[in-house]
Structures are given as C-alpha cells and as structure tokens.
Amino acid sequence: MSQNSHPTPGLYLVILLALVVGTCLTWGIAFKDLGAWNPVVALTIAVIKAVLVILFFMHVHYSSKLTKLTISAGFFWLMIMITMSLSDYLTRTFLPR
C-alpha cells in the first residue's frame, strides 16, 4: 500500500489538460467523415479519458491491490455484457436465412 504517495496539484493539472485536449480532439474529429472509424476513434478517446480519471482523479493508481483487482473484475464483467450481446446482434446477418 503506497498510502503516503498522494498525487499533487501539478499532476491533477496535467490530467485536466489531457482531458480537455481529448475532448477537443473528439469534438473536432466528429465533424470529419471517417466512415466506420468515427465510432472507433470517439470511443477510444472516451476510454483513454475514463482511464485517466479512474487512475488519477479517483486515486486507483495509488490504492491497494485488492481495490485494483476488484475494479478490474467489475469492468471485465461489463465488457462481457457488451461484447457477448453485440457479437450476437452484429453477426446475425452473416449467415443466410
């Protein structure tokens, strides 16, 4: 437990800046037509922003292994829900009726 290593205001400011840049980037890119890549780019930027918030604003980077493992498990279940559901609906048209 690295209990005494708290993030500093400087680090918070860097994270804020990264989040603002990410938001501007995703906003600008939304107006460009990238075909099937629009959702991929937008959601990748969202994931990066969320990870920054979780690791630093929510101090998960500094918390115990138990907390880290629990959070990872939670997101793993979320991914099971999303990927298994979508892999069904996305592939229904692949086979002839």
Binding site: H6, T23, I54, T67, G74, F75
Partner: protein, 262 residues
C-alpha cells in the same frame, strides 16, 4: 459503561471501534464505495448495451436523432464536467493538506460547475420540447394549445425533410414513405436519449446534495490530513458521474453523425 477492563488509548474521534487504524478504516470505506460504484456501472452499462443494439437495428433513425441534438452544447457540458472533476480532485488534496478554507471554496466551485451542467442540460431539454422531439409526440411546444405535438405535426415532417437533405448528411434518394418511417423511429433514439441523460442528471442532483452536505461538514473543520474519508468517497461518486458523461457524449452526440452501412 465501564471501561476499566479496556486499555484506553488515544485515538482519532472519527475512528470506528471495529477498525485497527485510520488507514484500515479508509481502505475499507474506499473498497466499499467502489463495490457500490461497480453496481452503478453495471446499471448504466445495461443502458449502453441496449442503446448499441437498437442503434444497429434502427441506424438511420439514430443518425437522424443524433444529428438533431447540439454537439456544441454537449461539448461545452463535457468541459464543464471535466473542470468540476478537477476541482473535486483538488478538494481531496486540500483536505489531505489541512487547508480548511480552500476545501470549502473548491467544493463550492464544484457545485457551481455541476449546477452549470444541469442548466445547459435543461436548455437542451427545452429545445427538444420546442422541436416536438419528446417521444410520444403529445408533450412539447403548444402542449396547452389544441393539438399539441401530434404525430402529423411539423416535428416528424422536419426530421423526414432532414433525412432527405444532403446538407445535413441526408440522402435525397430516400423514398417518400421511408423517410416518414425513419422519422417515426427516431422516437426510439429520443427515448434512449432522455432515459440515459435523465438518469445521469438524477445522479448529478444527488451529487450536488452530497457536495452541499460535505461543504457543511468541511466548514466546521471536520476534515484534515488524518481524516478526510467522506471527501474522498464523495469525490469517487462525483468522478463516476463524470465518467458516465464521458461515454454518453460520444455515444449520443458524436458516433452517428455520418451515415454508413453499419
């Protein structure tokens, strides 16, 4: 109660007797908060999954609905919420370093930004009311006047026109009846829009209540380097609400702006 049998050692007044130390107490509290937040993530995750499935099924309607909401307001609100997450993170830092006044000011700043977010959200909701985009088409502009927003009202007609308008990423070759059909299906998009942003806004309102309570306690000097767990947990909740919006913004506003085969 007799305490003669127990060793009376000095400890922090906030330390509950089932814990060995303040550190252990905070770890347990943080862990519990995360378990709660994971259940919240699964709740919003269910909505996200349903949204993605219906987006596959009614893609042209989701494009029409998504292009009818304002990206600029959504963008502005994302920045507001990110800024509020920053002030919240700084509140925890101020508490850790025993800066009582700074804590109160930062909490108030977080609340002002949170309220600004809800204000913009209310403006966006009003626009949907004004354009007769509320699902069901009985609530909206002219609600008090005879007729209200009927299914044959301008709203659906406008969306059908926009679907054919090449300037709005539309396709002029969409046949007459199909455009009306798609316009009707945008009600599914708007149902998701209001359910997801509504549930999120409800969490914001609860968050504002929590922040007001924390401000009250911080003002009395309850929190310092030895004990700031409530600030930490309130912060976790506030950041979680921020993360939900970080995903709502691209899903609702950004990913369906250009129409393609799935």
């Amino acid at each position: 109660m007799s305490t003669s049998q127990t060793t009376t050692t000095e400890h922090h007044p906030a330390l509950a007797h089932q814990f060995d130390s303040m550190e252990q107490q905070q770890d347990a509290s943080t862990f519990g908060m995360w378990v709660f937040l994971l259940t919240e993530i699964m709740m919003f995750g269910g909505l996200f999954t349903a949204y993605l499935i219906y987006r596959l099924k009614y893609y042209p309607a989701f494009v029409a609905g998504s292009t009818s909401i304002s990206v600029s307001w959504g963008f502005a609100n994302t920045l507001v919420l990110i800024a509020s997450s920053f002030t919240m993170a700084m509140t925890v830092w101020a508490a850790q370093n025993g800066k009582r006044k700074m804590q109160v000011w930062l909490l108030l700043a977080t609340m002002v930004l949170g309220a600004a977010f809800l204000g913009v959200k209310a403006k966006e909701y009003y626009d949907k009311w004004d354009e007769c985009h509320i699902p069901g088409h009985v609530i909206g502009k002219g609600f008090n006047a005879w007729g209200g927003c009927s299914a044959t009202d301008k709203s659906l007609g406008n969306i059908a026109e926009e679907i054919r308008d090449p300037k709005k990423h539309g396709n002029p070759n969409v046949p007459e009846g199909a455009a009306e059909q798609i316009a009707k299906q945008t009600e599914i998009f708007f149902s998701f829009y209001f359910a997801m942003t509504g549930l999120h806004a409800f969490h914001m309102v609860i968050g504002l209540g929590l922040l007001a309570w924390l401000t009250w306690r911080a003002k009395s000097g309850e929190f310092g380097p030895a004990y700031y767990t409530p600030i930490e947990l309130g912060g976790l909740y506030w950041h979680f609400v921020d993360i939900v919006w970080i995903f709502l913004f691209p899903l609702l506003y950004l990913i369906s702006r250009h129409q393609h085969g799935v």
